[in-house]
């Protein structure tokens, strides 16, 4: 049943003709509704519109992240080991701009930087008495040209992926078996994965996970996961090598009714990590272990009034998030929502690494004290025939925000800077206000369009945050569904300047830019078949959005998928 609902949701989201990305988790590379800055598929700063605090979304722990990947101290959808719907699929793509025949006419000094491809193939079989098999190989070499020279010295080889020699940010292959019937789901996947992790120092650190084994079990209101990773770290230039054997997992009871009252729902769980490090591992976990016990609750004493939150703790950290929300509907046409949101905690991500080891420095990835964050939000929506208008606003106060206390820089090569220091706090109040407006139009099943625009302003005694977010953004979308079988989707975006203050000796400005995404899909619903071609980040300048990262270039990829 759960798989069926997931399939329906996937299908609905596909029909709504949103622009696809290379692989799950790369959405920040094509979003503008907030501040989204991408260094590579395995590292980006993602801070959506109206978000409170100066941190990015993937830095803050939440129960939703139990199925995501922990990359150093951030959670990432990518590389996703989530089992797909029963289907067979393949996709190929490229950062466009290889020379091909122009190469014959071009001297080596005038040669533009080589563009890099992407490749994916996979299947999940139909169920046989509930049993199924699956396999997936995928790697995205996009966003890997600028880091190639430094990373090649670290690996000492160009053959550091399952396919090709571009040193992609991730390269993953796995095979697995599963069982899905009634309310029971069980799966075990095993594979090999190459990853480049972005340290707080600004280095890219190679990690080969071989094997990585992930097992998941779901029964009614219980989710269990157990993961084993044998990680090999290597820096040939520094003659360093290390290994980590890690067991991690979780036990989770999602929301369920409590106390004979349908007004209260509760849930909870436990997450854990155990590591055994040998040699140069670049990261360290305090006491070689991390636990996180948490509870969550939702209470609706009267209709449209909701109180919800979760709280967790371990031997070192604690984190509480709660929200109060009142929703007022007037007829079918207008909807007003007001909410308060609070966050208190000693660390945004208590499951993350404790240290990063860089030369003789040990970078502490947590700080003493705690942060407090208070936010008020409003959301007004009005519908008139096929037109929808929305106005949203947010204001927040934050004290103790996590930041980085940079104590020094070292230049690795031209304009590639590594930093020393520790994660610390901004012990003064930061205030922020943001607003956005949305106008959407729907014409039968044929056409839909929307325009969203937003702005944000931050104030405080301290203004040198890790990232100074964009102040203005714009998003225009238009989708056609012609004859219910040809989908044409566009989105045009603008993001104003953003700034990295602490990863570069001089403030690193990311200039504002326009970009356009477009996707064309032929659907064959009767046959479960689809063909899609997608262009991403067109019209923009090639900007390096993160210090030591890679340029966000124009990319094209095509996908063929047959569902069973």
């Amino acid at each position: 049943m759960r798989i069926f609902i997931l399939f329906i949701l996937c299908f609905i989201s596909f029909i709504q003709a949103s622009i696809p990305v290379e692989t799950e988790g790369m959405e920040p590379a094509i979003r503008s509704d907030g501040t989204f800055l991408t260094a590579s598929p395995t590292y980006y700063y993602d801070r959506p519109s109206l978000m409170a605090g100066i941190h990015s979304q993937s830095e803050l722990w939440s129960p939703d992240f139990l199925t995501k990947r922990l990359l150093v101290d951030r959670y990432s959808v990518l590389p996703s080991w989530q089992i797909q719907e029963p289907s067979i699929w393949m996709q190929v793509g490229n950062e466009i701009g290889d020379m091909i025949y122009h190469d014959v006419l071009t001297d080596s000094d005038d040669r533009p930087m080589n563009r890099t491809p992407m490749l994916e193939a996979g299947f999940r079989s139909n169920s046989f008495h509930g049993f199924f098999s699956t396999a997936r190989f995928f790697q995205v070499d996009h966003f890997s040209s600028s880091t190639l020279k430094v990373n090649r010295k670290a690996t000492g080889t160009m053959e550091y992926s399952l396919f090709g020699s571009n040193l992609p940010a991730f390269s993953t292959g796995y095979v697995g078996l599963g069982y899905s019937k009634d309310q029971t789901e069980l799966s075990i996947l095993a594979g090999r994965e190459y990853l480049w992790l972005f340290g707080e120092s600004g280095r890219w650190i190679s990690a080969l996970l071989s094997p990585r084994v992930e097992s998941r079990f779901h029964y009614k209101k219980l989710d269990l996961s157990l993961i084993y990773e044998d990680v090999q770290y290597k820096d040939k230039e520094e003659q360093e090598e290390g290994t980590r054997k890690e067991w991690s997992g979780s036990l989770f009871f999602p929301f369920g009714k409590c106390c004979k009252s349908s007004k209260i729902q509760t849930g909870g769980g436990l997450a854990f990590r155990f590591v055994n490090d040998e040699g140069d591992t670049y990261f360290g976990l305090e006491n070689d272990r991390a636990f996180w016990a948490f509870l969550q609750a939702k209470y609706e004493p009267i209709k449209d009034f909701t109180v919800s939150g979760h709280a967790g703790m371990n031997e070192r950290d604690w984190l509480i998030q709660d929200s109060i929300q009142y929703s007022l509907k007037k007829g079918k046409s207008s909807h007003f929502l007001i909410g308060l949101h609070n966050l208190l905690g000693t660390r945004l991500n208590p499951m993350g690494e404790s240290y990063e080891f860089f030369n003789q420095d040990t970078i502490s990835l947590s700080a003493e004290g705690f942060l407090q964050l208070y936010q008020a939000k409003i959301d007004f929506t009005y519908e008139w025939k096929n037109v929808q208008f929305a106005l949203r606003g947010s204001g927040f106060f934050e004290k103790g925000a996590e930041t980085f206390d940079t104590t020094g820089f070292v230049e690795k090569r031209t304009d590639v800077w590594y930093r020393y220091g520790d994660v610390s706090r901004i012990n003064s109040w930061i205030r922020g206000a943001s607003a956005e407006m949305e106008l959407a139009y729907q014409f039968k099943e044929l056409f839909s369009a929307s325009v969203r625009a937003g702005m944000e302003r931050l104030w405080g005694e301290e203004e040198r945050f890790e990232v100074q977010p964009s102040e203005y953004w714009l998003e225009l979308k238009a989708d056609w569904t012609i004859n219910k079988t040809l989908l044409v989707s566009h989105s045009l975006h603008y993001r104003s300047d953003a700034m990295w203050n602490l990863r570069h000796p001089e403030p690193y400005e990311v200039p504002g830019d326009w970009f356009w995404n477009a996707s064309f899909s032929q659907l064959f619903p009767k046959y479960g078949l689809s063909l899609t071609g997608t262009l991403l980040h067109v019209l923009s300048d090639e900007i390096k959005e993160v210090p030591n990262g890679n340029e966000n270039r124009i990319r094209f990829f095509c996908n063929i998928k047959k569902t069973f």
Binding site: N94, L105, A478, Q522
Partner: protein, 193 residues
Amino acid sequence: MKIPFFLLFILLTFISGYTAETEEKDYMFSEGYLGLEGGDAYPWGTTEDAIQPALFGQGNFTYRYWKNTYGIVQFGYAYFKTYTEFKRFPGVHQFHGRVGLEHQFSWLRPLFLGAGFSCIWARSDGGDQEDKGPGVMLTDNESEFGTFLKVRLPIWKNEKYAIGANIYWEQLWTLPEKSNMLWIGVFVQRRMW
């Protein structure tokens, strides 16, 4: 140049979206054709100085998508000779694939107009990978995407077979500038269902 092109594209998509026929009947895959096509490919613009025109061969699969619209899938091969003054390698193997749609407008009968995406894979015929001079990237596998516009001219047909000609303008998204090529081919196709 980018912005006017973009605005024109958006305008065309608006027009095509609003003028699209609403299908009363399901034509999808109601007809399927396999074909063989051969002809000449002519580099056009700067790449004329890099490679010579070449013969090509390709296989075509055409299926009915809507009432007057057909889907096309093509795979083919061409060997492009370099000029004699370029000593590094004598030619380049190119495999190509295309996916797109072609439509017969009532005002343009019997011609079909088509468009879609192209993908090519190229590799030099020999050549030393250690020499970093011009052409070195082609000594390893290279691939690129692009778009094409095409015109199909039906010449003869009976119940099972058809003969016709295709003209393609293909533009690959290469650097330092885009690569244009004109393809002219004659095809024979057989209706499979």
